[in-house]
Symmetry: C2
Subunit: 203 residues, 2 copies
């Protein structure tokens, strides 16, 4: 497949790719090897370096995603929006080992990435294409994967000029932060703070 | 110093400590060694395990915090609230190397932790006391620190029965998510999602 960006999908400069994840949203990890692809939710991911950008994400040994990532050496982090909360919970709960048709069952559709063989998830508002930096100790001991970001994309309705702009878009396009048991928080109100050399204490 | 919790500071069971960080808030990393203590902001931290709980956080080599953490083997992750956004930006911008009085200058006050020698930051809404698991390769290569969580606390006005309850409290007590350049997002509206075996696709 060749890369054909869906409507609203615009490139993000690699040096600014960390900003897609910097605010701590839940992500969907997409992966593929051979004819098998999968998508799972992950609350535990974060940027690890600015430029060239790196990310880290926890991928449990029990998941099909783990097998696909170890076999292919690539994955994508997709940032779902509030409209996808139910799908995010569903693909984070059902395992492809026991629910082999989980993507179709939960209405997850994908499109081809630009640099990696793993697909990207339709309807998300940010996408980071990643190549694993092999770190066997971290993978085995902590389920922790470190990767280079090799391409990044965002929905231009909520991310432009290297910044999120959630307040100017429908709430359904806000990113999500996961707590537990099906509870999410939407990314809330933007606060622009200026450096003040001597603010007063808050308590 | 002995531990004397400030008003509203209540214990969080260790097995639920990950929930303080699961939604990806910005944190303040507090550390101490000898007579020196420091506080810096960090957007790059996340849970690494449930029970016993572990966390991981990126601490740059250029920071005084890095020296204090490597010397003492402990740190705390403090979760600032929206009322502390300006202080969070300030202690994330000023280095104690060049602004040695930065805590006093920015009105940061601390109280003793229960299990570690590093202090906790007053006015925050969550606190995780952490002991470093030495991982020299991760520390040197990626500035990545892995630690056991040995005690956890939260402001009972916004965290109780193992859950955040931001919607029922003043907005000033919401946690924060950092983007860049002084821009934060407050943690937004809670969304409770039920598992649906076959939702329709969102696009």
């Amino acid at each position: 497949m060749t890369f054909c960006a869906p409507t609203h999908c615009t490139p993000v400069p690699l040096a600014k790719a960390y900003r897609l994840l910097n605010h701590g949203p839940v992500v969907l990890v997409s992966s593929a090897h051979g004819d098998t692809c999968n998508v799972m939710a992950a609350a535990w991911s974060m940027p690890l370096d600015f430029d060239p950008p790196k990310v880290t994400v926890v991928i449990d040994k029990a998941t099909l995603t783990r097998q696909l990532v170890e076999a292919s050496g690539v994955f994508a982090l997709n940032i779902p929006c509030a409209a996808m909360a139910a799908q995010t919970l569903a693909v984070g709960t059902d395992s492809a080992h026991t629910v082999p048709g989980k993507l179709a069952q939960h209405g997850i559709t994908t499109f081809a990435a630009s640099q990696i063989a793993a697909p990207l998830v339709q309807g998300c508002v940010g996408w980071l294409e990643c190549r694993v930096l092999p770190e066997p100790h971290n993978q085995n001991q902590y389920d922790l994967f470190i990767a280079d970001v090799v391409a990044a994309w965002a929905d231009g309705r909520v991310f432009s000029q290297d910044r999120w702009h959630f307040d100017a878009a429908p709430d359904a396009l806000r990113s999500l932060h996961y707590v537990a048991g099906g509870q999410f928080y939407a990314t809330g109100k933007s606060m622009q703070v200026a450096l003040d050399p001597a603010p007063t204490a808050t308590e």
